[in-house]
């Protein structure tokens, strides 16, 4: 809390001396003051004090009764009273309130004190002010602050847009949910939901595994489907049918092999799977020494890989024993067994 007060107060004492001036006005009817402040806090050990703040320039309207002190845009003054050389006021800031008093030593110098209460802690800021030669524009500071606020807001908006776009690029809908604190434009959700229903998008999210922790997002098919309001199986069937018809072998291999024509469910039956016609025509029956046509080679490898990853029908495929069988029987498997082997692989 002490650190918060230290940060808040010296800067917060940039009082809105020029509050009466319209922010857009451009005039030189202000006078420059250099304000030096030093904060003291209740409870600090004797002899210790906070470091003196660097002098700050304050532009006050020439005919204003407001004291030329530095209060920033987070504080407003009220009940300003002047009696002779003394001025008192009340002050309300974002995180606290207090009072101020000052005395003009002469027309170009003053001394004053602001006492603030912030979250139950009291602090005092001692100030001295010195008028500087020259004129200034009392609205300029206000305009600078307004510009800064607008710039900061734009930066925040840009950062948020980048986060939202990142959710689309990575196809992770979690970041678009309101509970993340991001307020993404609905167009990002529309973009993401369109993207995941393309072959490229679908192929990216299809291998994602659901998170082991229920509340943990994983961007898997079900999560994305729920978010976008589509049935992943329906989308898979539509995309796979198109891929099959157009022989889009990349997508067919990555996202369709092993899923049934009829209902899109996983299947171990080769005849039921998407791509089965191509597999039967281009992959099955090929020996390793007589490989599939170049165009189908990668696809057939994907199919072979898929088949190797299925659980075998029996736990152990060990061969039966024949005493004194001969190593490397003649004709190995190329000529006489090749067809059967590949048939086994692809038709298992």
């Amino acid at each position: 809390m002490t650190r918060l007060l230290i940060r808040l107060l010296p800067g917060a004492l940039v009082l809105a001396v020029s509050a009466a001036q319209p922010a857009s006005a451009q005039s030189k009817d202000g006078e420059n003051w250099e304000v030096t402040s030093q904060m003291q806090m209740a409870g600090m050990p004797a002899g210790m004090q906070m470091p003196q703040q660097p002098p700050r320039k304050v532009c006050r309207a020439r005919n204003s009764d407001n004291p030329p002190v530095d209060g920033g845009d987070k504080c407003t003054m009220s009940d300003v009273r002047r009696s002779g050389n003394a001025v008192t006021w009340k002050m309300a800031c974002e995180r606290g309130s207090g009072t101020g008093e000052m005395t003009y030593i002469d027309k170009d110098n003053y001394k004053g004190t602001v006492t603030m209460s912030v979250s139950g802690q009291t602090m005092t800021v001692n100030m001295t002010g010195r008028r500087l030669p020259g004129d200034c524009d009392p609205g300029e500071q206000k305009r600078q602050i307004a510009t800064q606020i607008a710039t900061n807001q734009q930066r925040a908006n840009d950062a948020m847009a980048r986060q939202c776009q990142s959710a689309v690029d990575t196809m992770m809908p979690y970041m678009l949910r309101p509970e993340t604190g991001l307020k993404c434009d609905p167009k990002y959700k529309a973009d993401l939901c369109t993207k995941v229903q393309t072959p490229e998008g679908f192929a990216t999210i299809a291998p994602r595994q659901p998170s082991q922790v229920a509340t943990m997002p994983s961007g898997d098919l079900k999560e994305v489907g729920d978010f976008c309001g589509f049935n992943p199986t329906t989308v898979r069937m539509r995309l796979c049918k198109t891929a099959e018809d157009g022989e889009s072998l990349g997508f067919l291999g990555s996202s369709c092999v092993g899923f049934a024509h009829t209902d899109g469910s996983p299947t171990a039956k080769p005849a039921d799977t998407f791509g089965s016609t191509i597999i039967a025509r281009e992959c099955a029956g090929r020996t390793f020494s007589s490989p599939p046509a170049q165009k189908y080679r990668e696809f057939c490898s994907v199919v072979a890989r898929h088949n190797l990853m299925q659980q075998p029908a029996t736990a152990d495929a060990a061969s039966t024993t024949t005493a004194n069988a001969q190593p490397e029987e003649k004709k190995d498997d190329v000529a006489t067994r090749g067809k059967k082997l590949l048939k086994d692989i692809f038709n298992r």
Binding site: M172, T321, A325, P327
Partner: protein, 271 residues
Amino acid sequence: MVRRVLLWLAAIVAALPLHAARADPTVDLFPRAAAGYLVAINGKARWSRAPDSPRAPASLTKVLTALVLLEHDWQPLAEVTVSARAGHSPGARIGLRAGDRVYAAELLEAMLVASANDACLALAEGSAGSAKAFVARMNERAAALGMSASHFEDPCGFDQPKQVTTPNDLLRLTEAALALPVFEQAIAQARGEVHTLGGRKLSYATSNLLLGRLEGARGVKTGQTSNAGRCLIGLAKRGTTQVIVVLLDSPDRWWTAAVLIEEAFRAAQSG
């Protein structure tokens, strides 16, 4: 904010590709690859099935035969006389006849490249005096290598009741053999010739279909018997990555080996 970032990171980790999440060497990622298999990337087992279950090794035995030969007073230009038994070896053979005299180096290549049983037995008998004596050396060497689940009864891999090994033991054996330049050079040959000192020329081709068909394939050894099924130790190198695949009783060893090797290089690339 920190919680949001952690959730985001966790979500990305959860979405990593399947093979990246399955780096446990005990994982059987390819249940249909073989009754027993092992894939090692740069010497480290990555995927396996029954890696310590003993099975008949068939001609994969000849890797140990070669290792014992090469480590035991190897004389490449020693003249080996083919015995009647060797000359009548069944199975894969290059056509040696009893009484043929051949240089040991040529027999070694024929044994490793074409899995020639006649060359194998001639070498074993020529080196130790008898197949039995040679097998004793093989078991000694296997024990020294730590192939604790292996036992050999035939120098060339013919099925014998107690002739067994495991994928893990074969990986160990292969790595030891690959340390010998003569072995590494021989297994990579696609074809060769044996010239008997009597003037006959016997040509042979490799039994390894991966050679010349799969990028980076460097051979090693094939094997097949009724007991063992189709077996293979496959080696492939691409850049600094070396993949060794051991398959014991694999229904389709060539496609399987090709898929496993490609998958292993992919896994190595993705870390």
